[in-house]
Point group: D2
Chain length 347, copies 4
C-alpha cells in the first residue's frame, strides 16, 4: 500500500482527494494536514466523511517522513518549502497549486508576483497532463499537477495542434467554471445570493492560467501559440465547459466535419478518460460530473470557416484531485485508471 498524505485537506481539492482515495485499492491515507485546523477532526469539517474517514488533522512537518507521496493543495508560494522537506525525506510531491506548473520563472514572476526561492527544485519538477506528458514523470520527485482550465483546454486542442489544421496565433477560449473552482474561502462573489441566478465573465484576458495554457499548446505545436482566454463563473457546484474557436488552415481548411471529427477520435482512441462525442452531440458538464472523464465535441461553422470545440471536465476531479491521482498511479507504476472508476451520475 502506498502511504499518502494530503496537505490542505480542508480545502475543496483536498477534500475531494480524500473522497476518492478512500476507495483506492493500493492507497492508505496516512495523514491529513491543515495548517489552520490542526487538531480538529476532518469529518467535523466535512460531515460527509463521518464514520468513513475519522482522522485528525495534523501539521506539515510530522507527516512527510511517514508518507510515500504527499499531495499539496495550498496557496501559491507555499509549496516550495513543502518540496524541500519532501526531497529531504524521499517523499514524492504532487503539487496541485501553481508553483511547479510554469517552466519559465519570468512567467511565474509576472503572473503570480513571486520569485522562486529554490530554483533548483523547478528543474526537477515535471508538469503532467497524463494524456500529453505521461512518459515524463516516471521518476519525477515533484509533479506539477495542471490547473483546471488548462486541462480542459489542452485536451481539447491537442489533436488540432498536432495535426496542424488550425491557426495558432489567435485561438479564442471562452470557459465557464462551477463555483468550487473558486475554493472554500469566503468571498462576496461566491456568497449564495450573489452567485445564484447570476453569471458574468471575470479576469478577461488576464487570468493566471493563460501562461500555463500557452506553455502547453506551444509545447505541442513546437512554435508559439497565442490565446485569448476569458473565464466565467457558472452557478453550479462542479464542472468546466470550455468553448474554443479556431480558424482552420492548411489541410484543415478543406476537411469535412466527418474528417475533422475523425482526427479527435483517432487521437484519443486509446485514452480511457477522454471521450469524443458523436458528431451533432454536445459535451455537457453533467455527463462528467464526479468523474475523471473529459468529454469533447467537435462542431464546424462552415459559413465562417471556424472550428468550434466544446470540452467538459469536472474541475475538482479531472481538473484537480482525479488527475493528481492519475499522476500518482503513473508515478508509482500502477494501472493508470486505478481508483478512478467513478461513474458520472445521470443527474
Amino acid at each position: 500500500m502506498i502511504k499518502v498524505g494530503i496537505i490542505g485537506a480542508t480545502g475543496y481539492a483536498g477534500a475531494e482527494l480524500a473522497r476518492i482515495l478512500i476507495n483506492h485499492p493500493q492507497v492508505k491515507i496516512e495523514a491529513v494536514v491543515s495548517v489552520s485546523n490542526t487538531g480538529q477532526q476532518l469529518d467535523d469539517i466535512y460531515p460527509n466523511l463521518k464514520e468513513i474517514l475519522p482522522m485528525t488533522l495534523e501539521g506539515v512537518d510530522e507527516i512527510i517522513p511517514r508518507c510515500d507521496v504527499v499531495f499539496a493543495s495550498v496557496p501559491h508560494g507555499v509549496s516550495e518549502e513543502i518540496a524541500v522537506k519532501c526531497k529531504a525525506a524521499g517523499t514524492v510531491l504532487i503539487d496541485l497549486g501553481a508553483d511547479f506548473r510554469l517552466h519559465n520563472e519570468a512567467d511565474y514572476n509576472k503572473w503570480y508576483g513571486k520569485e522562486y526561492k529554490h530554483p533548483e527544485l523547478h528543474t526537477e519538477a515535471v508538469y503532467c497532463i497524463p494524456e500529453l506528458h505521461r512518459d515524463e514523470i516516471k521518476d519525477a520527485p515533484i509533479i506539477g499537477n495542471p490547473g483546471c482550465y488548462p486541462t480542459s483546454i489542452s485536451l481539447a486542442l491537442m489533436p488540432a495542434i498536432k495535426a496542424g489544421i488550425i491557426e495558432t496565433d489567435h485561438i479564442i477560449i471562452d470557459s465557464k467554471s462551477g463555483v468550487t473552482g473558486a475554493g472554500r474561502g469566503l468571498t462576496q462573489g461566491t456568497h449564495y445570493p450573489d452567485t445564484n441566478e447570476a453569471f458574468a465573465a471575470y479576469k478577461a484576458g488576464a487570468h493566471r492560467h493563460t501562461p500555463e495554457i500557452e506553455q502547453t499548446l506551444t509545447y505541442l505545436a513546437g512554435s508559439p501559440v497565442k490565446v485569448t482566454f476569458v473565464p466565467h463563473l457558472l452557478p453550479v457546484n462542479r464542472g468546466i465547459e470550455s468553448t474554443l474557436y479556431c480558424r482552420m488552415t492548411g489541410k484543415g481548411a478543406s476537411m469535412s466535419a466527418e474528417e475533422l471529427h475523425a482526427v479527435w477520435c483517432d487521437a484519443y482512441k486509446d485514452e480511457k478518460f477522454v471521450r469524443i462525442e458523436k458528431l451533432g452531440s454536445y459535451a455537457n458538464i453533467k455527463n462528467v460530473k464526479m468523474s475523471n472523464y473529459c468529454d469533447i465535441s467537435i462542431h464546424v461553422d462552415t459559413h465562417a470557416n471556424t472550428l468550434i470545440i466544446s470540452s467538459c471536465i469536472d474541475n475538482m476531479v479531472k481538473g484537480a484531485a482525479g488527475q493528481a491521482i492519475q499522476n500518482m498511479n503513473i508515478r508509482f507504476g500502477l494501472e493508470e485508471t486505478m481508483g478512478l472508476n467513478m461513474i458520472p451520475p445521470a443527474f
Copy 2:
C-alpha cells in the same frame, strides 16, 4: 457473478441502478430493458454512460430467463406481470415500484386505484427496509423495495417507536424531496423555470406513501400508528429531508436530550448505512448525496415537549437503487454493503 437485468432502465431509478451496479464486484449487468425504447442504446439516452455501459435496450420477455435477478422500476400495475414471468423462470424480482409494498389489498385499491390480478404473488412478496426487515427476505422470490419517503421516515422513527417514548396516534411528518423523485417524465411542475427558485407543498395528507409509512410504523409499534404526511418539492436534483414532530410520552417525557440521543446511537450502532449526528448537528441532504447513507439528527424542544427528528437520504440511492442493491446483496448471501461504498461528495 450474479446476472442482473434492469427493467425500466431509462427511468431515473433504472439509470441509477446501472450506474451503481457497474462497479459491483459480484454483478454482471446482463440486460437493460425499456419498453418504449427497445433497440436503442442506453448510453445514447444517458451519455454519462458513454463508453462505460454500451448496451442495447431489450424487451422484457427475452431477458428474464437469462437473469438471476431482475430489478423492475416501472409504473404501478405493471410489475405483477413481470413477477409472473420471473416466477416461471426462477428469477428473483426486486420491484422498485409500489405493487409489492402494501400488505393489505384494500390499501392498494384505495391509494392506487387498482386491484391485484395475481393475489397469490403478494403472499410470497416481502417488503424490506434492510435495517428493519433484513431477516425476512433470505428466501423471498419477490422483494418489494420501499418508497423513498417511507425509507427516510421509518429509519428516523424506529428507535422511538421500539423504545415506546412517543405518542403514536399523531406524528407530524414534513418531507422535502429533490426533483428526481418525480421521475424523468415531463410535467409542467418539473419544467426548469417553473421549479427553480420555487417551493411548495403537494398532496398534503394525501400522498400514496402514507399507507406504506403507517404499515411499517404499525409493524414496529405492534399497534396502529397514525401520521400526517406532507411532502414538498425541493429545487435540488437529489435528496430527501424529513422533519418529524413527536409528542414525548412514557419515560420519553422525562428523558434528557443526551438520553434521547443515546437511544438512536444505540439502535443503529451496528448499522453501516445509518449515521446519527452529534447532538447540536443537523442532518443535511448534501452529506448523503450520491451515497447509501441515511443521516439522522435528534433535537428536543423542551418548552413544547416535542421531539424533533431530521432524517436525510439520497432519494435515488438509499431511497431507491442503492437500497434495492442492498436487498439483492442480502437475498444472494453477499456482504450487505458490497458495491455500495460510494462516498458522498462534500459539494
Copy 3:
C-alpha cells in the same frame, strides 16, 4: 414628499428598501447610511442601482434631522441609540431589526442576550403586522417591523385563532427560508457550494423568532399559545414557505374543508396583500417573489384530524422591506398599498 433615510443600506433589507422606494410616488430617498462603508457609492456595492440611485453612503448622525422617517436595518442592540436620536429630531423610526419587537424585556434578555438601555422607548414603540395591528401605529414614534418568519406564520394562523377552531397549546411550524434571510454577511453555511444542492434544518426549537411568534398568536388568542418552530435553509434566493400543523377543536372538529376554507377567505376578503388559494391549490414561493403578497392555502388531513396551512411570502418584501413601507404608508396617512404594486413574476 416624505424624506426617507435608510440606515444599513448595504444590507439586503436596506438594498431592497432602496429598490422599492425609488418608485414610491410620495417618497424622496434623502439619505443612505452605512457605518462600515461611509463615503462609498451605494451603486458601486449594488451595481443593479447604477445610474438609478447614484447616492453616497453617509453616517448616521448627520442624516436623521434631514429625514421625516428613518428605516433601520442593523444588528440587534444598535437600534436603541438610533431611536434616541430620532426622538430628539422628531423623526419617525421604523426598525427592521429585533430591538422593538418583543413587549417583554425578559424575552429580549433571554433570546437576544441583551438588556434594554432605554426602557422608556419600548413603551412607545409599536409592533405592527399591518393586517393585524394597523390601527395601533397611527401616531407611533417607533414602529417595530416584524420578522420574516413571524409574518408568514401569524398571517396564516390568525383566522384559525380568531375563530377558535384549533388547539393552541401545540402548533407545529415547519418553515423554509431562502438564503437572503441569512443576510449579506459571509458565512460557511451560505457559501455557494455549501448551500447549493443542500438542505437542512437549523436552530430547531431554538430560533429567536419563536417568542415573537408566540407573542402575536397569544395576542390574537387572548390566551397563551405555544408553538414548536423549526426553520430550514432553502437553496433559493428569496421566499419563505411555512407549513403549519394544527389539531382541530371546537366547531373546527366538525367543519368541512369548504367551511374551513371560507374562514380564511372571509378573514382576508378586504386585504389586498393576502391571497387565499382555491381549495386544492398550494401556496408557492414563486408566486409571491419580488412582491408584497402573502399567499395561503388550506388543506385538511381528515384521517388524522389535522389542519395543514401553507403560507408563502417573499422574505425580503412582505417579510422585511415591503412590510416596512406598508407600515410607513399607514403611519403617514398614505394609501396603504402605495408604491407596493410590484407584480410577482411568473418565473
Copy 4:
C-alpha cells in the same frame, strides 16, 4: 388609454408582457389570447397574477378589432395571418416571433424552412431595436420585435462597428441564455434534473438568430459582417450574457482601453436602458434581471490584440416583452421609457 391585446398570453413572453403592462400608466389590457387554452382563466395558469389580472383567455379573431395594438408571441409561421387581420382592423401588430425580423425572404426560407404567404406585409413591417432603429417605426403598421440574442449582441457591437475599429469578417460570439429562453413547452432538455447542475452549448454555428444578427450588423457597418455564434443553455431562469471577441483594426489597433471605453460611453450617453460598466467591472445578468436594462462591459486583451465585450440583458424583458413595450411607446408617441421603470433586484 391604449387598448392592448396579448396573443400567446400563456407563453413566457406573453406572461411577461402582461406582468409589465399591468403597471403601464397609458395601457389597458383589453384581451388575452391563447389558442390552446381559450376559455380558461390566465391567472389559473399563472397564479402569480391571481387577484391582479383575473382575465379569461379568448380566441384571436374576436379581439383584434377591439385593440389599438396587439402583441403576438406565437410560433413562427403563425404571425402572418394575425398581421392580415390586424391590417384589416387598423390594429398595430408588434410581433415577438421571427416572421417579421428578416428582410430577405431567402434567409427566412433557409433558416425557418417556410415561405412568405403574404410577401406584401413584409415590405411594411419594420424591425426595431429602439436604440438602433427608433426613427423607423413611427408609422409602421407591423413591428418585428428583435430576438433576445440579437438584442444583446447588436447593442454590444454597435459602437465598434460605427467607429470602424474592429474587423467585421470574423466576430466570435459566445452567448449563454437562461432557460426561459427555451419557452414554456416541455422538453427533456429543460426538465429540471436534466438542466440543473448542467451546462452545454447547442446549435453551434447553426442557430436561427445568426442571420438576424448579421442583418443588423451589416446594416450598421454598411458592408457584410460575418459572425460565428454559439449559444449555451445556462441553469438560471432569466438572463443572457454574450461575450464577443473582435480583432481590432484601423485606429482601434492603437487605442488604449480608456479610449475604447469612451467609445461605448459616448455612443450610449443618451440612452436610458444601456449602461456601460466602469473599466474593470463586468456586466452580470443579475444586475439587469427583471428590468429593461442592457449592461455592457469593455475589456482588452492587449497580448492578443483582442477586444472583449460582455453584454447582459434579461432575455424576457429587454430581450422580449420589455423591448416590445418600448417599441409600442415609440409607435404611439409616448415617453419611450413609460411603464418600464422596473428596478433590477440586487438578489
